[in-house]
């Protein structure tokens, strides 16, 4: 058991640090600017391009597709060092974390060389068009139809919802129903899409946090070429499972302030129990200890899966653990910070936010993360059924043709 870098890893870490020391200054600009979405996107794109140029963008991907041909461990080292700069962008995570691995696994060489390198460079943004108003957890229950035409292409019609970054995306992967006369898992097909195609309309949704990161997407006879198909016709569920496993994996890390920031904040806040700071209060220290144990436990759990990876085994559903606990942890840490700010914790005015803004954001974001990428309940089902091998519940929909299934809201 060794938690230190080996010689090769240490060398990689050193090179990473040197590179970040030179190029990381880009973030000073962002920190100086007031919170500004457009500025953020512009800097995110520049940052991604710089990383790609230096071979740090998709470290474990083949050089052929714009990656570095490195190891998962090197990817982790880079992320650890990058995180110390204090900024993490989400714009590319859906594309690079979920959509493109699916594209790489299920499309031909020509398509890959056309789509993958620009995404690695941050020139293109991708979205995942799975969820629908009537099908979120039950992804296979989607209704968006793709009908084959005489020339072999497909016509796509229907509606998606909660599609993150669709309004900024160039491409997307979409799951559609190609046969409603068979049970639901057997009639799905997956495609990649150009989001500028005629017939696509994107309408931003106002989120509970007040921002607008996700959207409704409407398809009206959108023409999709057969060469855009990912996997076999009616075998889209298989393709989607790969995307969903990757989704849980990429959501595993905690985002934003954690126990360290909470501890620092507490040291500056007066205790309501007599003199001293909040950090001196027993009740607070108990919670802080538990937050630490979970966060560190999560970190080492990720490193354990990396070890498994480096031994040639594939990461499986056990990675759902990370996503399941980090979302709740995010919420609890944020709520504890707000509790301790006392009445000030209600305040969300930009002018006062500086040190508490990140907790404020995670107050909302924690709630979102317990749903996005699979709800807590669905993740527990996955752990119980796929990791521990407990039996599945009775499925009323497994044998019935999709068109005959009962439908609600």
């Amino acid at each position: 058991m060794d938690f230190r870098d080996n010689a090769q890893e240490a060398e990689f870490r050193k090179n990473t640090r040197d590179w970040l020391a030179v190029h990381g200054s880009i973030f000073t600009e962002l920190k100086l600017a007031k919170y500004d979405r457009e500025k953020e996107l512009e800097i995110a794109k520049r940052w991604q391009a710089a990383k790609a140029e230096a071979g740090y963008a998709c470290i474990a991907w083949p050089v052929e597709w714009g990656g570095r041909g490195g190891t998962a461990m090197e990817q982790t080292i880079f992320s650890e060092e990058e995180e110390k700069l204090g900024v993490r962008f989400q714009y590319f995570s859906i594309g690079l974390g979920m959509c493109l691995p699916t594209v790489i696994a299920f499309s031909d060489k020509e398509t890959k060389s056309r789509l993958v390198p620009p995404a690695v460079r941050g020139d293109t943004i991708w979205c995942q068009l799975f969820s629908e108003p009537a099908a979120g957890s039950d992804v296979a229950g989607i209704r968006t139809r793709a009908i084959e035409t005489e020339d072999g292409s497909w016509l796509l019609s229907g509606q998606k919802v909660w599609t993150s970054y669709a309004h900024q995306s160039d491409y997307g992967i979409v799951l559609a129903r190609t046969n409603p006369d068979v049970p639901k898992h057997k009639g799905l097909t997956m495609f990649w899409l150009d989001m500028k195609s005629p017939g696509i309309e994107v309408r931003p949704i106002h989120m509970a946090s007040g921002e607008s990161d996700f959207n409704e997407v409407f398809f009206t006879d959108v023409r999709v070429k057969d060469s855009q198909r990912l996997g076999e016709v009616n075998q889209g569920w298989k393709t989607a499972l790969l995307t969903l496993d990757n989704e849980r994996l990429s959501f595993g890390g905690a985002e934003g302030p954690d126990w360290e920031e909470l501890m620092s904040l507490a040291a500056t806040l007066p205790s309501g129990m007599g003199g001293g700071s909040v950090l001196k209060e027993g009740g607070f220290r108990d919670k802080l200890a538990d937050f630490y144990v979970l966060s560190e436990g999560l970190k080492y759990t990720r490193l354990r899966s990396l070890t498994t990876l480096s031994r040639g085994q594939t990461p499986g559903p056990e990675n759902s653990v990370g996503k399941l606990i980090s979302a709740t942890q995010m919420q609890r840490v944020a709520n504890e910070a707000l509790e301790r700010l006392d009445q000030y914790g209600i305040l969300a005015d930009e002018d006062f936010l500086s040190d508490v803004g990140a907790f404020q954001r995670n107050f909302y974001w924690g709630a979102a993360m317990r749903i996005a990428g699979g709800t807590d309940e669905i993740l527990r089902n996955i752990i119980a059924e796929r990791v521990l091998g407990l039996p599945r519940e009775h499925r009323l929909d497994a044998e019935v043709a999709f068109k005959d299934l009962p439908k609600g809201i």
Partner: protein, 381 residues
């Protein structure tokens, strides 16, 4: 970097497991539980010493195998899985580790080889009654090398040959090593929440003792001993947690209610998922602790505390949920559910309860200077 047991460690672990599965079935544990006059299983103790487990992490020069501590962690995990009714932890995690950490050359030479051969049984006597016993306000005294006072309760206190005793000596709080065969030692066996482990009151009436480590430095020394033991105990807790999961699964896969096996009910499955998550978090923290222990890393205080906290939380949760999943059957003497419930509670207290370890963890983080470092720039997203 490598965050797992090595192939050799897995090999040893498998061997230990195979042995214990046949030699330490729950009927062995039960015979200790049910017979008031049997404080531990002597046959198992003998086999374990013959196989050299006691000396796995003891240097060869003192009769041990001189292996990495991670091997000892692997053994601890398996002993925890079977609720082994032997004084292994008091002897190996505590006495042997304490000697290796602070003992003089002479002390090590005198004790370790006999400990490895199973002749010596250790115990740690720190508690002085209800509530937390602070090392800075001890009533047990050491004067002129003689220990006087009363420790209650002491795990394995009734069967140990040697005790590590926290005392107030002329130089302040200290640790003393006491040979319990000396005149002036009186022991009274006590009932325990977990009778598979021995428990006693130990009374010292001017009993000769020798300082273990520097006198007056009792607080740091005790913390050092406890940190090392905490890591090893956390592996026992993981083994126990994993066993609870397995037993619960066996039951839930065979018990029918409302026309189907109960493991199909989501409320039950979610209990399993939560047990699994807590166990994995405990395992990860314990691995970090094992690394810190085996390399003597300066982060051992926080690594040990988090291994302990996660281990306690996991085993107690798993033991309780295992019983719940068994329903009424779970609360009978016949199932092993209560054996785990008892052992989980015992392990959760034997080195001090969670409030103490949470406080130790936060203090370690303060000393590490986290507060100055943790800068919150409000921009991460």
């Amino acid at each position: 970097m490598n965050f797992d047991y090595s192939e050799e460690q897995i090999f040893l672990k498998d061997q230990v497991r195979t042995f214990l599965e046949t030699e330490c079935t729950s009927s062995v544990t039960r015979s200790v539980l049910e017979d008031k006059h049997t404080p531990y299983d002597e046959a198992l103790w003998r086999s374990v010493s013959e196989m050299g487990w006691m000396g796995v992490a003891v240097p060869e020069s003192y009769g041990g195998l001189g292996l990495d501590h991670v091997y000892l962690c692997a053994i601890a995990e398996e002993l925890g899985r079977v609720i082994a009714p032997i004084p292994f932890s008091s002897t190996v995690y505590i006495l042997a580790e304490a000697l290796m950490l602070t003992g003089t050359e002479d002390q090590k030479r005198r004790i370790l080889p006999r400990l490895v051969s199973g002749e010596i049984v250790g115990c740690l006597a720190t508690s002085e009654g209800r509530g937390y016993t602070s090392i800075n306000s001890l009533s047990v005294r050491a004067e002129g090398g003689f220990v006087t006072g009363e420790k209650i309760p002491v795990v394995d206190g009734g069967i140990a040959t040697h005790a590590i005793v926290s005392v107030r000596s002329e130089k302040g709080p200290s640790l003393y090593l006491v040979d319990l065969s000396a005149d002036g030692v009186k022991r009274e066996e006590l009932d325990s929440i977990d009778p598979t482990r021995n428990l006693a009151k130990v009374i010292f009436n001017r009993v000769p003792g020798e300082a273990l480590g520097e006198e007056g430095k009792g607080e740091e020394l005790l913390a050092g001993v406890q940190n090392r033991a905490a890591v090893l105990f956390s592996f026992e807790q993981i083994g126990g947690s994993e066993r609870c999961l397995d037993i619960a699964k066996d039951y839930a896969m065979n018990r029918y209610a409302f026309g189907q096996i109960v493991s199909k009910y989501q409320a039950i499955k979610h209990k399993f998922a939560d047990m699994y998550v807590k166990k994995e978090i405990a395992r990860s923290n314990a691995y970090y602790g094992a690394w810190a222990l085996s390399t003597n890393a300066d982060v051992l205080p926080e690594a040990a505390a988090s291994a302990r906290i996660a281990g306690c939380l996991s085993y107690e949760f798993s033991a309780q949920e295992n019983l719940q999943i068994h329903g009424g059957m779970g609360f009978t003497w016949e199932t092993d559910c209560h054996l785990h419930l008892r052992r989980a509670r015992q392990l959760g207290l034997v080195l001090g309860g969670l409030p103490i370890w949470r406080e130790r963890l936060v203090r370690a983080l303060e000393e590490r200077g986290v507060v100055q470092k943790g800068e919150n720039n409000g921009l991460s997203r």
